[in-house]
């Protein structure tokens, strides 16, 4: 093992990895994180902590990671390139590693236009692929970006995300190939609703042999209602929700829709688990953390191996 990451440990044991995410609150109340954490205890191997997702200001990912770490979790520090230059990024990487964070997820970041501070200046000193290279250089070569030696290397397991449903489709596997070349070790995908398209993407990934270098965790998000499904389809960039899913939710009584949403999610996981190259499941239950355990249980993902 290169790191102390629980994700790496579970992967090495040959089991499917289960991750979920926890969005920090828009305030300084640590209890919010602890409450969300309690809902996930024992249900996952690691927890992503989002970094000002959708460009809305929230408690920092790093602080929320520390709160979860105190609870016994193995948090995944999400880091976007929108808000920090290479000085701040390298500094935060050192700080996270110093406090026992074992995983980092390297992301480009949503444009600030979507958030609560659309008048902000963005940074994008580097992109997500260059961020992967940065973490890898710091960890494996023990060097800062300008080549100076690091005393005390940051030992982090390196992750990234990819959206198999964004355009242009034909380069999505090639782009993952660039991330693999840059040194990424695990990958979480955008929520999968269109399974045939995901299968096609996985085929392209396997053709390039990327699945052997990068552990791919397939992402799922349960629908709470047909309204949420429609919103995801029409208003979230790069989201692919097939009409038959909307029809299926529409076909049940309103009070039964969330139950149907969970069922769809569990069925999706069961299909994804069978796909060659899929090494884990990333369950993103957006502001619905209480359902993660139930989904994991129904999908046959529990119990999780103990975190050591």
């Amino acid at each position: 093992m290169k790191t102390k990451s629980n994700i790496e440990r579970v992967l090495e044991s040959g089991q499917l990895v289960v991750t979920s995410e926890c969005g920090p609150p828009r305030g300084a109340d640590a209890e919010v994180i602890r409450k969300k954490g309690k809902l996930l205890q024992g249900a996952v191997d690691a927890v992503n902590v989002t970094d000002n997702q959708t460009s809305v200001v929230r408690m920092s990912s790093f602080s929320a990671c520390l709160i979860l770490k105190e609870m016994g979790f193995d948090p995944i520090l999400q880091m976007v390139c929108r808000d920090r230059n290479r000085i701040a990024i390298q500094s935060d990487i050192l700080g996270a590693a110093a406090m026992g964070i074992n995983n980092i997820l390297c992301l480009t970041g949503d444009h600030q236009k979507f958030g609560d501070h659309p008048r902000a200046k963005n940074v994008f000193d580097m992109d997500s692929i260059q961020l992967i290279q940065t973490v890898k250089t710091m960890r494996d070569d023990g060097k800062f970006l300008e080549g100076e030696e690091i005393k005390g290397r940051p030992v982090l397991f390196i992750g990234a995300a990819e959206n198999p449903f964004a355009d242009p489709f034909e380069i999505r596997a090639a782009r993952l190939g660039k991330k693999a070349k840059a040194g990424v070790e695990f990958l979480q995908t955008q929520c999968i609703y269109n399974i045939p398209r995901f299968e096609k993407w996985m085929e392209m990934v396997r053709d390039r042999g990327i699945h052997e270098k990068v552990a791919i965790l397939a992402g799922v998000t349960p629908f709470k209602s047909v309204g949420m499904a429609r919103y995801m389809k029409n208003s979230v960039p790069g989201m692919d929700v097939p009409d038959e899913m909307i029809d299926r939710l529409k076909g049940v009584l309103k009070e039964k829709q969330s139950e149907e949403g969970i069922k769809i999610c569990v069925e999706t996981i069961q299909r994804l688990k069978q796909l060659p190259g899929v090494r884990g499941i990333h369950i993103m239950a957006i502001e619905w953390e209480e359902k993660v355990r139930e989904i994991a249980e129904m999908a046959g993902l529990l119990p999780r191996p103990q975190i050591v």
Binding site: R82, D127, A174, R175, A182, G238
Partner: protein, 222 residues
């Protein structure tokens, strides 16, 4: 060319409030081509200002003048004989021209009549589009002749991000995704192998981040 937008009449009137004698200066270069600050626009703005001020009972005297350029001493010096007759200079040139006037005539207040926006091209009559951010280290040879710095909303060197949808950018559904354009072009040129290469982290010293830039050609100096 450098593209600019004229400021609103209200904003210009507000800036000119304390003044009665104004030298309004257009520029015959970029801002003429982008129909913002050439001779014609000088005439239009002067009429608008005079009308508004007359309506408020505050007459204004405006001398209209359009220089060949406002970014060269040779032309800026042409106003020296009469600039002293005016309380203020209102320039319709780009930000470079406005500043060069201000530093040339140190005791004169120089006001901007336009917002300078970008380096771009004329797509069609009345439509301009950004193409270059003057970063000082061109990568167009790697990206099919389409600039990721200027044309990707996040200036990604290894795009596209996950927000590219049907060829459009996540920032605005009418905005083309710069990386979709790059990929289409690389495909058309049969150069997709270039996409497989990771473009390294950029050296921003050549851009604004290195501080205000200056270029010296010793061989051309007199």
């Amino acid at each position: 060319m450098i593209v600019a937008d004229r400021k609103s009449l209200d904003e210009i009137l507000k800036m000119l409030k304390p003044y009665k004698k104004v030298l309004l200066l257009g520029c015959n270069e970029c801002v003429t081509v982008s129909a913002t600050g050439g001779e014609r626009e000088v005439g239009v703005l002067a009429s608008e200002l005079k009308l508004s001020r007359a309506k408020d009972g505050q007459e204004i005297e405006i001398r209209e003048q359009t220089l060949e350029r406002q970014c060269d001493h040779e032309y800026i010096d042409q106003i020296r004989p009469f600039v002293g007759d005016y309380e203020v200079v209102l320039s319709m040139a780009c930000g470079a021209g406005i500043q060069y006037l201000a530093e040339t005539y140190k005791d004169k207040t120089v006001l901007p009549a336009v917002n300078t926006t970008f380096l771009g091209v004329t797509l069609e009559q009345g439509v301009w589009s950004e193409r270059c951010q003057g970063c000082g280290e061109c990568v167009l040879h790697m990206t099919g002749g389409i600039c990721p710095i200027a044309r990707c909303a996040k200036s990604l060197l290894n795009g596209p991000c996950g927000g590219s949808s049907n060829g459009k950018c996540e920032v605005d559904k009418d905005l083309e995704c710069g990386w979709q354009l790059i990929i289409d072009r690389l495909k058309a040129l049969n150069q997709m192998e270039k996409y497989e290469e990771i473009i390294p982290i950029k050296d921003w010293r050549t851009s604004r981040d290195g501080g205000p830039r200056k270029r010296i050609r010793e061989d051309l100096k007199l």
